[in-house]
Chain length 272, copies 2
Amino acid sequence: MKNVFSIGETAKINNISIQALRHYDKIDLLKPSFINKDSGYRYYSIDQFIYIDIIKHAKNFGIPLKELKNTLTLGNMHELAENVRSYHVYLDEQIQSLHNAKERFEKVAEMIEYSLMAVENLGPYRRIIEERNIIKLSDYREVGNFEINSRLVEADTKKSGLEFGFESGYFIDVPTFINSGEEFFTSAYLVFMDGELPKQPLSSSEYIKSFIPKGDYVCITYNEHNKDERIKQIQGYLKENNIEKIEFIIVSELYDDFRNQSNEIQVFLHPQ
Amino acid sequence: MKNVFSIGETAKINNISIQALRHYDKIDLLKPSFINKDSGYRYYSIDQFIYIDIIKHAKNFGIPLKELKNTLTLGNMHELAENVRSYHVYLDEQIQSLHNAKERFEKVAEMIEYSLMAVENLGPYRRIIEERNIIKLSDYREVGNFEINSRLVEADTKKSGLEFGFESGYFIDVPTFINSGEEFFTSAYLVFMDGELPKQPLSSSEYIKSFIPKGDYVCITYNEHNKDERIKQIQGYLKENNIEKIEFIIVSELYDDFRNQSNEIQVFLHPQ
């Protein structure tokens, strides 16, 4: 039985590229068992094939190089078994991350669908909104740059393990809105996915981790074309229903149209 | 409010590299909304940021480029929601593949641990072995090249959606073994993971999909140093226990030592 194989034979038998084998040699992950001094040709022994199997599988599934090196340089088989088994930690992390991604994509789709439905409502409507985990930009000033600031905050909070929940908006000053219909922004907020907590402290003291309570809200949507009219409608609703004590009002950005986006005014009536 | 951003600003705000943005432009995934004819500088508008969000998320999670293009070139928001939602198919495939990988790594660890334990048994021992799904190389001839052939078969069957179960070996001729202790190989087998069926027909008619039944087996391990002695022991066991009607005997390769591998003889006694 032939026990030593050229790099080409080894590649073919193991369904792997020659380039990959050369790379594993270069990074000291798997050295050929024999190199012809005259020709410089690399040869692999048959007992190296199981290592190629392990590298192939592990690489496919994002096992870190460091772990692979640990596995392949082990002296005894018990440790090898233990090391191969420990890969499940990396695989579980990836599985969790894919589940989170599913949740996020579903959330984007829901946000778009909700937005498209909401903008068809002409008058004010009531709805129960679940509790929202938020990051509040407390010293929020420059309204026009919110889209930009919120992305910078998102990048920043991502490092802390928070995942953006695809909802953002502003808190507005209640008396000003009730009296004049002006939206005077007091702070901005970004909603984060449920149940996720920062793994590291947030890097800026300008952010406050908070929440918007579950409650009964009276809402209306508007875009730049119908803003004045819609705001008058919700002011009227609040007056007619003698709603005077209002803890907070928020303006949430909708996903109905990226070029002419609508917003939803959400007036908190009472907790639920 | 500033509505158009240089490629550098766009990259910074969206926590993405300039190279990535250039690449998306090149492959027509996301073209800048404006290019200065004199300088050639690219500019992005703020309403393109949501597309960058979608690309970033999708890319991270292996959504195919084709799907991404579909999403980004859609005319209406309902389709966009539907398309984003459809990504779950790709994510589920990846999750399944990671679960399979966990199972495979666990199986490697188990095989090594079983091998290390089994080689410590001196005499014959009995054990119940579960049903094994196998590919049988029916016209198996060249014993010495089994390691190589099996890898070629593995590569071939992988295309058919079969995953190697980290066990391989040979069927041996029963009368020859009982009478002379010679291992005359009649065919080779490769075990595949439970529950996986070929998605495509296997490409070679030389392979037969079959199974080794669950049953009570009498086993012994050997390596090249103790082979003769161990084979005598199991022959003795079969004689002493008047075991005459033997349907099949297999020799399974162990994972105790890649340089001086042991094998386990498995004599099928009766189904269970």
